[in-house]
Each structure stands twice: as structure tokens, then as C-alpha cells.
């Protein structure tokens, strides 16, 4: 059974419908990406899954119908969303951002988890008492991911983690994400424009065009698809 099952999802903003019946599933422990051009509805898909915008259709997480859940309720189901533009709390320190990330948790392992996050992102440890607003773009992205990890997520939704980062930093970030997914068993669903890069490390991919999924498959299959090669990979 899939960890996340989305079917006939429709969503939008005000009178504008962006998603027109999106269906796909995400298996536990996999790294799954949603590819597509600007305006296809990638960000909207993530926002609809985590309940940030009005939606219809069905969203099932771990077999449970969560179609009507609010974002805070989704977070308590251990679905962590790293939004577009990172959404860090700029007026809080790095450490406070991480503590906020663990907000719904009642257990006592928060401090240990913070150390684990610092293990992934040593830069954050150096800056733990600085305000998040004073971090560089790359560091803020690391903080956003670390904050999401503090929730102990089973599923992590990532919205264009590579946006605005230098290529070297992007590769570093993706290898850390891969480590998180493989070692800690966190399922990743990430949206990316940079198809070349993301298909190198994703297991499965869904291609979104004009509010619909037009192609789904393993990363290998998608990479081999002639149309995809021409439109997205530029080879």
C-alpha cells in the first residue's frame, strides 16, 4: 500500500482552478519527484496535499482519509512541508526555529534530534544562536529542511529546494536529502524544475502539465522517455 495516495485532486486559488484532477501515489521509503514547467501546478499540488489551500478529491495518507485535514493536523500526522521560499521564522534564532519544528511532539528526544540535525548540517550548529534572517539563502534552505526533520516526519514535502542555490550547494543539499531518505527512512516528495539533477537521485517521477499528471514511472523510465528528454532534459 502506498504511503500517500492522491486521486482526482482539484485545487486552486479563489476562482482560478490550477489542478484539474491530479492522481498519483507515493510509496513508503521512496524519493519521488513531481516535474513540470512553470505554472503546471507543482507548488499547488504540495499545498493541496498539506491542506494549505481549498481542494476537492481524495488524499489518503497511510490509508487514512486526510482530504479535509488542516495544515496543523497534517503536521501532527507527521507530514512535514518545506514551502516555497523556505518559510523560516526570520526573527527567531536557528535553535528556536528547530524547537518550533518539534512543536507537536510530546516526547523528550527533541534535544537528541537537534543534534542529529546538526550532524546533517554542521553550518547550522555554528550559527545556532543567530537569527535565521541573517543566514544566507543556502543556510536558510538547510534550516528549513532541518526544521521539517524535527517533526520526525514520515513524509516530507519539498518545494524546489534548489531554488536560488549555486550548483555545488544544490548537489550537496541533494546528497544530504538522499542520506536522510535512505538512513532515516523518510519518504520524500519533491517538486523541482531542475529535472536533470533530480532524476539522478529520485526513484520515481510524475510529470505534471497544465494541472494534470501526464506521465508517471520510475526515474529511469521517465529519463528514457523521448518527449521528456526533449522538453525537460535538453538532450
Amino acid at each position: 500500500m502506498s504511503l500517500l495516495e492522491v486521486s482526482d485532486l482539484e485545487a486552486g486559488y479563489g476562482p482560478v482552478t490550477v489542478l484539474r484532477g491530479v492522481s498519483f501515489s507515493v510509496d513508503e521509503g521512496r524519493i519521488v519527484t513531481v516535474l513540470g514547467p512553470n505554472g503546471a501546478g507543482k507548488t499547488t499540488t504540495l499545498r493541496a496535499v498539506s491542506g494549505m489551500i481549498r481542494r476537492s478529491g481524495s488524499v489518503r495518507f497511510d490509508g487514512k482519509d486526510v482530504s479535509r485535514y488542516t495544515p496543523e493536523k497534517m503536521a501532527r500526522q507527521s507530514v512535514a512541508h518545506v514551502p516555497e521560499g523556505r518559510g523560516t521564522f526570520t526573527g527567531l534564532t536557528v535553535e528556536e526555529n528547530l524547537r518550533v519544528g518539534a512543536y507537536p511532539r510530546r516526547d523528550k528526544d527533541v534535544a537528541a534530534d537537534m543534534q542529529r540535525c546538526f550532524g546533517h548540517f554542521p553550518r547550522l550548529q555554528e550559527r545556532r544562536s543567530q537569527h535565521a534572517g541573517s543566514l544566507s539563502g543556502g543556510e536558510q534552505q538547510m534550516l528549513a529542511i532541518a526544521r521539517a526533520l524535527m517533526l520526525r516526519p514520515r513524509l516530507m514535502l519539498l518545494d524546489e529546494p534548489s531554488l536560488g542555490l549555486a550548483p555545488k550547494l544544490t548537489r550537496e543539499l541533494f546528497s544530504i536529502l538522499e542520506k536522510i531518505a535512505r538512513e532515516e527512512g523518510v519518504t520524500l516528495l519533491l517538486v523541482e524544475q531542475n529535472a536533470n539533477l533530480v532524476l539522478k537521485f529520485a526513484d520515481d517521477a510524475h510529470v505534471l502539465e497544465a494541472g494534470r499528471i501526464v506521465l508517471s514511472g520510475t526515474a529511469e523510465e521517465i529519463k528514457a522517455d523521448e518527449g521528456i528528454r526533449r522538453s525537460y532534459l535538453g538532450v
Binding site: 498539506s50 494549505m52 488542516t70 495544515p71 496543523e72 503536521a75 501532527r76 512535514a80 512541508h81 514551502p83 518559510g87 523560516t88 521564522f89 526570520t90 526573527g91 527567531l92 528556536e96 524547537r99 518550533v100 519544528g101 512543536y103 507537536p104 537569527h131 534572517g133 541573517s134 543566514l135 544566507s136 539563502g137 526544521r147 517533526l151
Partner: protein, 293 residues
């Protein structure tokens, strides 16, 4: 010299009253991100409740505790019923709503209790300490002690507790707060509740000095905004210090600058607001918006 010190001490005592309301204003701002123009009126309303309880024969301490509890609940109710529908909207909308609340609460108090003025019992008596020829009202010392206690407690809540962290997170970024599992509505309700409670405290501290009527806070509010602006709008400690500075400056100007006298004292907070906004918009202790492109 004694007169000079006495003027400072009196100004400091008055400034403590401004500070009390300023702390409530700062609190709402810190926990909800909006400036509540109705803060003073809510405090006035709470003070009337305390007065009503005392008149009805409830013992003073019990009346005060009851008032604080009612104010906390009332603040939460106002957030839920009046503020929630416009939550996350334009700043201007929120400002207009709090101005509407100002008029509503003011009229409601007049309708219930009338527009006459009443005397309110002092909490600390009328005695004065005489220190080297300078009279220090015991009441002022009591007010300052309560104020410092409240601010210290609030600081601890904001910095050390989970709900305090959640309140700060919500005021900074409501969307991200939802995504980490914070219930934004409930957090804002608690923020309004605490601010209404602190406002009520300011009201009952202040009322014995003035007369209790529906415009109890009208004059004080402008001083409190000056205090909050001077101290930095998001710093409770700044608000206290700002209140003292404004109170002392006002009294010094009124006493020693001939053309100001008693009538033009109101200029002091206005000038302070303008000067702070021009030269140091974040105030003395406010945290500037840190952002790196």
C-alpha cells in the same frame, strides 16, 4: 535640588502608569503582529468590571482576581469573534477593526455604567515614604514592583515556554506556523487573553490616580504608544523604560519649560513619537527586521 528630584520621582511614578498600558500594547503586537488601538478601552472596561464587583461587596483581592480572569476570557472571546474573521487580512483592515472595537467598547461602557466619573480604591494606600526630603508615594513603588514582576514573568513565558515560542512564531509567519503543527487561532486567542489581562492590571493600577470614567484611558493611550515606540514596539522591557522616560520628560518639561507648563505637556509624547520614528524607527530595544537578500 530637592524639587528637581521630586519632579523626577513624580514623573517616574506617572511614567509607570504609561508603561503598564504600553506593555499590554507591546504584548498584542508581539503575539499577534497587530497594533491594538482598543487596548486602552479594553483596560477601561475591565476596570469598570472591577469597580462593579467591589461596589457589589466582593472583597478587593477577589474582585481583582475575578477581573483578571474575566479579562483573559474576554480577550480570547474578542479574538475569536471579532478578529478571527479578518485574521491574515490587510494591516489596514485590522487597524480599522481595532478602531471600531475602540468605539464599540467605549460606547458599551457608557451605556452600562453611564458617563459620570467614579473614584476607585487605591491598592497600596496613600502613604508616602520620605527619603531625604523627597516624597515617594508607596503606591508608585507598588506599581513599579507589579510592573517589573509582570514583565519578568512575560519575558519568561515568551523566551522559555513552548506556548511563548509558538506565539512568537505565529506573529512572524502564520503559514509556516500551521505547517509545523501550531494551531494559529488558538495561539492568537491566548495572546489576546494575556494582553487583555495585562491591560486590566494597568487599568486597576491607574484608576485610583485618575477618576474612573469611560475616557479613563483616552489620555493615557497616546503616552503609552509613545512609550512603546520609544522602547521598541516588540520589547516589553523597552516599553517600561520608554514609559519612565516619557513620564519624567513630560514632568520636567511641564515644570521647567515655561511655555509648556501643564497645558502643552501632551506635546511631549507626540514629539517623542516623531523623533523616534525619524531617527531610530526600531526604538531603543526593538529588534530590527533582519533580512538578507
Amino acid at each position: 535640588m530637592e524639587r528637581f528630584v521630586q519632579v523626577i520621582v513624580d514623573g517616574w511614578a506617572t511614567g509607570s502608569l504609561y508603561a503598564a498600558l504600553a506593555v499590554a500594547v507591546v504584548l498584542i503586537y508581539r503575539s499577534t503582529g497587530i497594533v491594538n488601538f482598543a487596548q486602552g478601552e479594553l483596560a477601561m472596561f475591565s476596570t469598570f468590571i472591577a469597580w462593579g464587583l467591589i461596589e457589589a461587596g466582593v472583597p478587593l483581592a477577589l474582585a481583582l482576581l475575578g477581573t483578571l480572569a474575566l479579562s483573559f476570557a474576554g480577550g480570547m472571546l474578542i479574538e475569536r469573534v471579532i478578529i478571527r474573521p479578518v485574521e491574515g487580512g490587510e494591516v489596514l483592515t485590522l487597524v480599522i477593526v481595532t478602531l471600531g472595537l475602540y468605539i464599540l467598547v467605549n460606547s458599551l461602557a457608557g451605556w452600562i455604567w453611564g458617563f459620570g466619573n467614579r473614584s476607585f480604591p487605591g491598592l497600596f494606600g496613600d502613604s508616602q515614604l520620605d527619603v531625604a526630603g523627597v516624597g515617594i508615594p508607596v503606591e508608585s513603588i507598588g506599581i513599579v514592583a507589579v510592573l517589573i514582576g509582570v514583565v519578568g514573568l512575560l519575558f519568561a513565558v515568551f523566551q522559555r515556554t513552548k506556548i511563548g515560542l509558538a506565539m512568537r512564531a505565529v506573529s512572524l509567519n502564520p503559514d509556516s506556523s500551521r505547517l509545523v503543527g501550531i494551531s494559529v487561532g488558538r495561539t492568537l486567542m491566548i495572546g489576546w487573553g494575556i494582553a487583555a489581562l495585562v491591560g486590566a492590571l494597568a487599568g486597576v493600577l491607574l484608576a485610583p490616580r485618575l477618576f474612573l470614567d469611560v475616557n479613563l484611558m483616552g489620555g493615557v493611550l497616546i503616552y503609552s504608544f509613545a512609550a512603546a515606540t520609544l522602547g521598541g514596539f516588540d520589547s516589553p522591557f523597552g516599553a517600561v523604560l520608554g514609559g519612565w522616560i516619557i513620564g519624567i520628560a513630560e514632568n520636567l518639561a511641564g515644570t521647567y519649560v515655561d511655555f509648556i507648563g501643564n497645558d502643552l505637556k501632551i506635546l511631549v509624547p507626540l514629539v517623542a513619537i516623531v523623533v523616534v520614528l525619524l531617527f531610530r524607527p526600531t526604538g531603543l530595544f526593538g529588534s530590527p527586521e533582519v533580512a538578507r537578500a
